[in-house]
Amino acid sequence: MADTITFGKVTAVPIAPVRGKGYWASVITRLVHDPVAMAALAVILTIVLAAIFAPYLGLADPYRGSILRRLRPIGFTGYPFGSDELGRDMLTRLIYGGRLSLVMGVTPVLLAFFVGSTTGIVAAYIGGWVNMVVMRVIDVFFAFPSVLLAIALSGALGAGIVNSIVSLTIVFIPQIARIAEAVTTQTRNRDFVEAARISGAGTLTIIRVHVLGNVLGPIFVYATSLISVSMILSSGLSFLGLGVKPPDPEWGLMLNTLRTAIYSQPLVAALPGAMIFMTSISFNLFSDGLRTAMEVRQ
């Protein structure tokens, strides 16, 4: 019905099942009606907002403490979440710690999303030997477990926030590129892409108009599921001394410095781990909800 064919000229008319405004509206509607995803989003937003507005919340100094009041239990007067090994307020440190933990969790995934998606989409669309070379290089990275690769790269680059972000980005690029390549390969063989090609559309136009709209969604959902992994890995790097440097609060580093208190103040020592767990599982649950909401058949 939409196809108009005239001799001597092919008029390209959108025939692809491109998900329009109605699609995204239905995704949001489904998401809003998913109580688990919404609860996860609420947790994430609370942590993010608390981290952003921490200086305005009337908290104690995250860097100052009294050694005489070290390792106070949860609920101790003036220390609702206890105090750490140097007598600093744990609530303050946990809220401020969210800043670096979130930055180190989200930034590598965002960077890897852009680089990995581009790599995977271009490799899949061009195909042939380009695809083969790119995918074999990515296979090399897949030969190493992510944790080991992250530690090795951080060890080689040296400790620090920027180097941790770089190493985690390198760890995630192959994973995202692999997904991008797979979904793009499926899409490029679809009839609507073929039709666009026959109609004379250029490669960049086809990728921008027909491919991206259909592949970015699945890649994005996959990338959001990596945020939790990224947070755990970045915390692990900080735990090993390869990430954030003292005295900056960061959950992985806090877990390390408090680990010896596990026998004297186990609940306080477990708090940074609980924050990592809660945040990463929230990102996972939200990612699951997003994926379910996007499984809409038109």
Partner: protein, 531 residues
Amino acid sequence: MRHAALALILLSTFHHVAAAQGTLRIAMTAADIPLTTGQTDNGGEGQRFMGYTIYDALINWDLSSATKPSVLVPGLAESWGLDPNDTTKTKWIFKLRPGVHFHDGSDFTADAVVWNLDKLLKADSVQYDPRQSAQGKSRIPAVASYRTVNKLTLEITTKSPDATLPYQIAWILMSSPANWETLGKNWEAVAKTPSGTGPWKLASFVPHERAELTPNQDYWDKARIPKLDKMILLPMPEVNARVAALRSGQVDWIEAPSPDAVKSLTDASFKIVTNAYPHNWTWHLSRVEGSPWNDIRIRKAANLAIDRDGMKELLAGLMIPAKGFLPPGHQWFGHPTFTVEYNPDEARQLMKEAGYTPEKPLVTKVLISPSGSGQMQPLPMNELVQQNLADIGIKVDFEVVEWNQLINIWRAGATDPSARGATAINFTYFIQDPFTGLIRHVQCNLAAPNGTNWGHYCDADMDALSNQVRNTFDPDAQTAILQKMHEKYVDDALFLMVTHDVNARAMSQKVKGFVQAQNWFQDFSPITMDK
């Protein structure tokens, strides 16, 4: 007849009880079993568990007392001293102990000593072992040459007069040449079945898992034949894992429990054994051109800024606050005029004179590690130091590097690019003898990477004192010079002197007879296990 049989049974039972003194299981902080072939790796802990157990040195440490500092005592050499006929004071004669055998039954002789020194120092010798050489060569920098005089007499010539030679020789452990020959001249094979002259024999060994030692009943020092049936060493680098292993009964003894676990361990009836020992926890300051630590006011201010009582609280009392580079009461401490104490007001005044305030601080970078042998609790301890220094106007940025990487940076020196522009390094020191304790950090010609003077400190007066120590063979006179040297260390505030460890170890009530010497090394021979 029945009575005789009963008596025989009872006798054999009592004999068994008398002989069986149990098995001691120790969790070490090392990540692997220390090298078993002679010169151990894994620092002081390696020498403690796999060095002075299986092997002896020509000169040993007296580890029998908990109440006085350890001194050198005859080991495989019965006596030693300068050759009275040598006017250069570089020739030493060692009279070796007769009748000593290696575990494989071969004789210990002067040739065996020469063979062992070649193993470390002569790269073209057949028995040269790079792994052992890496551990042992730097311990004997004074040795120029050596030779067998006769079967039980050895001569060692030093590069220049050096009264610290006996301390250096105490590091060098003697493994059996005959055993190495028998095992096809293969050090890998020797690692599995080593042979020394020490009070313990290695019965079995699984890398990364465990080593089992049994008594050498033919040990030459009958007073030090081990009373235990067996001693099992388990590498367990994670501190919480060690505590859990002790609490669950997997081991009977753990090295270096975390201070925060001490109360829970004592509440559960475990013993915490501590003692002073020659260890210090410092910031080794860079003295290269441009380092802020070249200003004595800043060095003194930093030393006055440290709240050592607060740090003692942090470490649950498991430390001795520094009063100098050496522990208080040490025979070489002397009488420094600069008092190392917590005095932030005076520290701020000194910083103000140097041109810095908390509002306009001096900004500098310091290398630290997240863990490491002897480093105690480096992250929280360094954070506390960082807070204390911020209060007087020194803003410290940490460069955190892995422990082995930190050691490499330390060996390379403050001018090496690997130091990344840091002006100090948090390093703990073995300060057991004049050379390792004082000389190696400050002698001009030992500036890293030639030696371990990391900060490239160089001072003519200090060099003169070092040379005097090396040239003074009378122990009392040498002690007086070492005191002067230490006084200069403190009065010039050459290091950020923070604390000394107390060598804490936790053990089950079943462990009896252990005497914790004031030493990095310990004697396991008197220990027994209650049923």
